[in-house]
């Protein structure tokens, strides 16, 4: 133990409002906690599933003579991306819902908050830790998807090219068809889809964080977060009716309109993330500007839920 520090007057340390370093420390601890809960073991069956999908042919698959030979690649992507979305969203809910209530129950939180750690740093650190683990998991799944999709794309190309040559198609026509198939293979657009699901899972985690700050029950937090996840997928439909006639707004009564308004205001719109991801699976053109806008919405949602979480958590008593 140092001999002089306790006796000589100390320069008073000023704790900053937000410290990136402290946030990273808590995030790192959260990552270690989740990793040591063997969360990545779940990736093994998912990897097996992705590899299995590679060899799966739908019963309506008709080989290279199909009018849309790239459809099997789209099926491959839809199934894999769907799995990634489910895993990342549910993981975000469950892991975030467990973190704070567990810290409170175990009183680990006391020892943390008794150090010079602002509560906001603690919340952001926890959220960042969960987001990092989700990112890593999605990155691994993405890698497996890219590899299996690459092999499947090459297989389709190898089937289609000689078939079209036998039909007497010209070289430019064949290349056009092959390019259409290649567009459905691994591409930057596909990565946009994965990124969209990462954004979605991050927002879901922030929602779970908010609920966990005022709920003492993990089960309630999980159930509420799942409900918000579901409602968020159709928030755009409720909102649509407020902006123009159409959808469910047709011939709806005042109660339905009030409900639609509440849903539009209170819940995030998860459809924007799903739309981008679905479009990525279809190899549609997604611009960097659209991804930036999506990132902007993600940041906005994260900020809203984190600030509200801080508001609830800041004077929570233990």
């Amino acid at each position: 133990m140092s001999s002089s520090q306790s006796q000589s007057p100390r320069k008073r340390k000023r704790t900053s409002f937000i410290s990136p370093r402290r946030i990273l420390i808590i995030a790192q601890s959260t990552i270690t906690q989740l990793v040591r809960m063997k969360i990545f073991y779940f990736l093994a069956p998912i990897a097996a599933l992705f590899v299995g999908i590679q060899f799966f042919d739908a019963p309506w698959y008709s080989g290279p003579e199909a009018s849309q030979p790239q459809q099997e690649l789209q099926m491959h992507k839809n199934l894999c991306l769907g799995t990634m979305m489910l895993f990342s969203s549910l993981f975000a809910i469950v892991s975030t819902a467990l973190l704070i209530p567990r810290d409170i129950e175990d009183r680990t939180l006391y020892t943390i908050l008794c150090k010079p750690v602002p509560r906001l740093d603690y919340l952001i650190g926890k959220l960042l830790g969960v987001m990092t683990v989700i990112f890593i998991a999605l990155a691994v799944m993405d890698l497996i998807l890219v590899i299996t999709l690459h092999f499947r794309t090459e297989s389709v190309l190898a089937d289609v090219e000689p078939y079209l040559q036998n039909l007497g198609w010209t070289e430019p026509q064949i290349q056009q068809t092959l390019d259409r198939i290649r567009a459905h293979g691994p591409s930057l657009t596909l990565q946009y889809g994965v990124l969209a699901y990462f954004f979605k899972a991050s927002v879901v985690a922030a929602v779970a964080l908010l609920i966990s700050t005022f709920s003492s029950s993990t089960l309630f937090t999980i159930a509420s977060s799942v409900m918000i996840w579901i409602i968020g997928a159709v928030q755009n439909i409720a909102r649509q009716g407020l902006f123009d006639r159409g959808g469910l707004a047709e011939d709806t009564g005042p109660i339905a309109k009030v409900l639609a308004t509440l849903v539009s205001l209170l819940f995030p719109d998860f459809q924007i993330f799903d739309s981008i991801a679905d479009s990525a699976a279809r190899a549609a053109t997604i611009t960097p500007e659209q991804m930036l806008t999506l990132g902007g919405f993600t940041f906005l949602y994260l900020a809203i839920y984190t600030v509200l979480s801080w508001f609830v958590f800041s004077d929570k008593e233990f």
Binding site: M1, S2, S3, Q5, S6, Q7, R10, R12, K13, R14, T15, R21, R22, I25, I26, S29, T32, Q33, R36, M37, D106, R107, T108, Y110, T111, I112, L113, C114, K115, P116, V117, P118, D315, E317, F318
Partner: protein, 296 residues
């Protein structure tokens, strides 16, 4: 007395309102206390008397309904005030997934420590609490006593000026308990202020300078320990190798002295703790050796 006390609790009141309905429960009722730097203060009281709530108010874990708490002059609700505080909770629980060394390092980092200084400090603390051999074991494999010791290590990691200990010897064997007592005295000798709650009154008596007795949320008695427990109108003599004749003479003197009265006589007793230690610890490190170790 210095100008800035280590701890100042002024007229603290804390009410709890259970759920959305139910009568308000007053856990702390106008409690005031002041601890000077370098003192050891013991807060004692029965279960549910408000000790923990007072401690939590000081640590900013609960917000006072009224009154103020300050640590070295800083409002305890401010995060800054915790730069100088190390806290060992009752029945401490830390992240089970971390090892002993990782735990101390984690808390050191939260206090802004880093690099070689932090590494050295972690080694020092683990050595101090006797957990060097278990540094790489995850906390889920630790016994209660080991958890208590790792709790001490994290409380002291940033070399705080004030250490708050809530039942520091709960669940610890007499040897460990003695070590903790020695540690508290060591901290005191270094000028570190200690604020502790304990049910083990004998231990409180051994280490504290000041005590406060709290009951039903109110501070019923407070002051310097020696002043509170000394029976002013009585004197104690402990004589070694006395003879019956000497004892008779003393009795006679007392009889003839106006106002004096012999209350009791007999063989003084040792403590069960001292007996236990004598019987179970044939070779014990001396306080001087411990001081040497701490100085390194």
């Amino acid at each position: 007395m210095s100008d800035i006390p280590a701890v100042e609790v002024s007229d603290l009141v804390k009410d709890f309102v259970p759920s959305f309905r139910g009568a308000k429960v007053r856990a702390v009722d106008h409690v005031s206390l002041r601890i000077e730097p370098g003192e050891v203060y013991g807060l004692i009281g029965p279960n549910g008397s408000g000790k923990s709530t007072t401690m939590k108010a000081l640590l900013g874990l609960v917000r006072p309904t009224s009154g103020k708490c300050a640590i070295f002059g800083q409002d305890s609700l401010r995060v800054d005030s915790r730069n100088d505080v190390g806290f060992l909770p009752e029945n401490p629980y830390f992240y089970k997934h971390l090892t002993g060394a990782e735990t101390v390092k984690f808390y050191g980092k939260l206090c802004g420590m880093r690099g070689a200084k932090l590494k050295h400090r972690v080694d020092e603390m683990l050595d101090l609490v006797g957990l060097e051999n278990a540094r790489n074991r995850r906390l889920k494999g630790y016994s209660k006593g080991m958890l208590q010791r790792i709790g001490l290590a994290q409380a002291l990691v940033q070399d705080p000026r004030l250490v708050i200990l809530d039942e520091p010897t709960a669940g610890v064997d007499p040897t460990g308990s003695r070590d903790i007592r020695d540690l508290i005295l060591e901290l005191k000798s270094r000028g570190i202020t200690v604020f502790l709650c304990s049910h083990l009154l004998e231990q409180v008596q051994e280490v504290c300078d000041q005590i406060g007795i709290i009951n039903h949320g109110k501070m019923v008695r407070q002051g310097r320990l020696q002043d509170l427990i000394s029976l002013e109108d009585r004197t104690q003599l402990v004589i070694k190798n006395s003879t019956p004749e000497l004892l008779d003479q003393l009795r006679t003197i007392i009889d003839v002295t106006h106002g004096a009265e012999l209350i009791s006589e007999g063989n003084p007793r040792t403590t069960l703790e001292a007996l236990f230690l004598r019987e179970t610890q044939p070779v014990r490190s001396t306080t001087r050796t411990r001081r040497k170790r701490l100085k390194k």
